[in-house]
């Protein structure tokens, strides 16, 4: 559980924007988990050492995403959260592209 810091009354945010954004990150992490599991399932069918390596690659992508999301969720605890660092956005993109390239390589 992340602790939710309560902003000062003058900073009251009627839209609960940081909360909603935090939940969006959580939803996305869940989707990423499902996709990573599907990717792992794909290679484990074939078996062998290379399959184990590929499965750990999928797990690694998920862990990187989890870490990115966790860091961002901590940032969102501030009363006035900073803009999403573009580096994080690019890292998310890199995770997705890695999954897709991985998938293309396996399917092929």
């Amino acid at each position: 559980m992340t602790t939710v810091r309560r902003p000062a009354e003058s900073d009251r945010d009627p839209g609960l924007q940081p909360e909603r954004t935090r939940l969006a990150w959580r939803r996305t992490t869940l989707s990423c988990a499902v996709t990573a599991v599907l990717a792992g399932r794909q290679v484990l069918h074939s078996g062998g050492a290379s399959a184990a390596l590929a499965a750990s690659l999928a797990a690694l992508v998920f862990l990187v995403f989890l870490w990115l999301a966790h860091r961002r969720m901590l940032q969102l605890g501030a009363p006035r959260p900073v803009l999403l660092p573009a580096r994080s956005a690019l890292a998310v993109v890199a995770c997705m592209v890695a999954l897709a390239v991985f998938g293309a390589a396996v399917v092929w």
């Binding site: 945010d13 839209g15 924007q17 940081p18 909603r20 954004t21 969006a24 990150w25 939803r27 996305t28 989707s31 990423c32 499902v34 996709t35 599907l38 990717a39 399932r41 794909q42 069918h45 969102l76 006035r80 959260p81 900073v82 803009l83 999403l84 660092p85 573009a86 580096r87 956005a89 690019l90 998310v92 993109v93 997705m96 592209v97 999954l99 897709a100 998938g103 293309a104 396996v106 399917v107 092929w108």
Partner: protein, 137 residues
């Protein structure tokens, strides 16, 4: 807009991805709530991309009774490519929206959602036909 203008805009956008601080050079910082809404839109597109990529995996794993090997590979690759396109579009749109908000300009519009919707509809209809008529290999 001419082709050259579009190319220039594209190059400018790609440069922005890698030099994000440039976004903050101009205009004024918008209300943080708008930036967070923009971030949620970005994440929603990322989830769409994840769904497409997951769909690519699923096609290859679960349609073994319905499709020939090559049809499965083609469909899976199309879905994976769609996922990558969605991801790239997500980050591009995020940066452009952020910049537009700082400048106080109109938000960018695009036909990407319509294209994606049509593509998904075509794939869905194709799959229904394949399953209904049992066009297995």
């Amino acid at each position: 807009m001419s082709v050259f203008d579009q190319l220039g805009a594209g190059r400018d956008a790609v440069r922005l991805w890698f030099a994000p601080a440039r976004v903050q050079d101009e205009g004024e910082t918008p209300d943080y709530r708008f930036s967070l809404a923009n971030e949620r839109t970005f994440l929603a597109w990322i989830r769409t991309a994840l769904a497409l990529i997951g769909g690519g995996f699923a096609v290859d794993q679960f349609l073994t009774d319905h499709l020939t090997h090559w049809a499965r590979v083609a469909l899976a690759l199309a879905l994976l490519a769609g996922g990558v396109a969605c991801t790239l579009r997500a980050v591009n749109h995020w940066v452009r929206c952020e910049r537009a908000m700082r400048r106080g300009a109109d938000l960018p519009v695009s036909r990407f959602p319509s294209v994606l919707a049509l593509l998904v509809a075509v794939i869905a209809v194709a799959m229904v036909l394949v399953v209904l008529f049992g066009w297995a290999g």
